[in-house]
């Protein structure tokens, strides 16, 4: 690595103040966590605004226009409004589960960012099981949604929670299978190693380098959209069928937390896509690495926003069918083919 990792740098900086041992790492990681949290909150606010703008212009409307230039702090105001709202509680709710569901959802959304490198060295902790960790931690979302569905004591919410559980668990399989191809070639589960394996020319990006890379990329992206619960796979909150699905009984800040988590998940899946297939922070010219990373990620986010506002929603059984009958065979076949290609060395390494 060219630059020192941000964690190492921070540790050294704090160490120079005479801190050491457990306290040093606690302080270091607290600062990093706070920084990441701040960054993500701002990002989520931006993404909400951006999605509304893109959707608006796509539909020949303006989208938010009132607060600031083209409504740039609209989301902030919405957040403030939600903060002031009365927290309406259903009398028959399951108190504990109902309360913890949004918290859980947020934790799952934020926790993935421990292993996501925003740039060269800009990573909280380079775990050697990075990708596995991401897969594990993002799946917590489904528990949160299930909790929300169950705790609300509402049939629509329960349906939404059940749908999302079935959906996320099903799409986990093709998602992991797509990732496996990448891992096979990178030879590591660490996100940093995976990105570094794609260094150099852009032809080295996994999408181009892997045999049938585009297929792995598309299957991964489809599974990722399903994981992020967005149209055409937003069955969990399917507005026209289940009104609002799992978050039907949530109001005020609890709803805002779900909303925040949703948009952070959107960024997460885009970031993972970039890390796995589009070379992570690697680019060319003198532009800083984190700029490259964000540019690529926003491109994917933009694509996902376009998809959301263009396509109809699938039906729940068709969704399952698609996962098990189409995506799973394709991705498994892809793994086998990739393994054969790898074995015989039929790929380039620039």
């Amino acid at each position: 690595m060219i630059a020192i990792g941000i964690t190492v740098a921070l540790t050294e900086l704090l160490g120079s103040f005479g801190l050491s041992g457990g306290l040093l790492s606690v302080i270091t990681y607290t600062i990093l966590a706070a920084g990441t949290f701040g960054l993500l909150s701002v990002l989520a606010l931006f993404l909400v605004w951006w999605e509304r703008k893109v959707a608006g212009h796509m539909q020949q409307r303006f989208g938010p226009m009132r607060n600031g230039w083209h409504g740039w702090y609209q989301t902030l105001m919405d957040g403030l409004k939600l903060l002031q709202k009365e927290d309406i509680l259903v009398a028959t709710r399951d108190k504990v589960v109902f309360f913890w569901a949004p918290v859980m959802c947020c934790i799952a959304a934020f926790a993935a960012y421990i292993v996501i490198p925003f740039g060269d060295g800009l990573i909280v902790a380079d775990l050697n099981i990075g990708v596995l960790y991401i897969m594990a931690i993002t799946t917590f979302t489904v528990i949160a949604l299930l909790m929300a569905g169950w705790g609300s004591n509402n049939k629509y919410a329960l349906l939404g929670g059940m749908r999302s559980a079935a959906q996320v668990v099903s799409y986990e399989v093709p998602m992991v299978a797509s990732i496996l191809v990448v891992v096979l070639y990178a030879g590591s589960l660490s996100t940093v190693d995976i990105v570094n394996s794609q260094s150099g020319n852009f032809l080295n990006w996994n999408i181009f380098r892997l045999p049938f890379g585009p297929i792995a990329f598309i299957t991964f992206l489809i599974a990722a959209v399903a994981e992020a619960n967005r149209t055409p796979f937003d069955l969990a909150e399917a507005e026209q069928e289940l009104v609002a699905g799992f978050n039907i009984e949530y109001s005020g800040m609890k709803f805002a937390m779900f909303f925040l988590a949703e948009f952070i998940n959107l960024f997460t899946v885009s970031a993972i896509t970039v890390i796995l297939f589009l070379g992570g922070w690697h680019g060319f010219a003198f532009i800083p690495t984190f700029v490259w990373f964000f540019m690529k990620t926003f491109a994917i986010v933009f694509l996902l926003i376009m998809v959301r506002w263009t396509y109809p929603r699938m039906r729940v059984d068709q969704l399952m069918e698609f996962a098990w009958k189409v995506l799973v065979p394709i991705t498994f076949l892809n793994i086998i083919v990739a393994a054969i290609f790898k074995h015989f060395g039929w790929y380039w390494e620039l």
């Binding site: 796509m58 303006f62 263009t310």
Partner: protein, 195 residues
């Protein structure tokens, strides 16, 4: 397999169509700043029209509009005076009932009322939607209209009507401060006193 590829191409095409619209200009307006021009024939709020020369009300209190109104939104009190002419004592329009059908305008032979393109009269108080004669006339002062009255009543310029109007005419300055319902009551004794 071919179906999937075809489907995928169709999906991309769909993205192309929505993507194309991204570059187009919005068709909506930023409402309070930009306003659509209302067509001439727009049927918005009902106003009472005033004479173009002397600014008096055109209404003769003939009750035709009240009879034509399908929702009974118009309330007129115009008893006959001593010379058998109707004197307009009360003209109220209840916009909570009005269905903007325009039948009153068509029924009127004196160009006394018109549905205009004005529309920004929403209020938080339901009582404000009961407009009395002053408010109806004030809102309608700048309304241009085709006067179909002259042909019929030019010969006898219905005297009591003009009188009644003159009194109402003096009102507007007052009407601004006084609540609509009160001012409507105000009209009553005065009209009677002078009649």
């Amino acid at each position: 397999m071919l179906d999937y590829i075809k489907g995928f191409i169709e999906l991309i095409k769909g993205l192309g169509i929505t993507g194309k619209h991204l570059g187009m200009h919005a068709v909506t307006l930023q409402y309070p700043e930009e306003k659509d021009v209302m067509p001439e024939r727009s049927r918005g709020v009902v106003v009472l029209l005033s004479d173009k020369e002397d600014g008096s009300l055109n209404c003769t209190g003939c009750l035709l509009c009240m009879k034509a109104c399908p929702t009974a939104a118009i309330i007129i009190d115009a008893p006959r005076g001593e010379d058998k002419k109707r004197v307009l004592k009360k003209f109220e329009l209840d916009f909570t009932l009005c269905c903007y059908c325009g039948l009153c305008e068509e029924a009127c032979n004196f160009s006394a009322l018109k549905l205009t393109g004005k529309y920004e009269y929403s209020t938080g108080d339901k009582d404000d939607l009961l407009w009395d004669v002053n408010k109806l006339q004030d809102v309608g002062r700048d309304v241009d209209y085709e006067d179909k009255r002259r042909k019929k009543v030019a010969k006898k310029p219905a005297k009591p009507v003009v009188d009644a109007n003159a009194k109402v005419e003096d009102k507007p300055a007052k009407a601004v401060e006084i609540k609509p319902t009160e001012s409507a009551d105000d009209t009553k004794p005065k009209t009677e006193g002078e009649a």
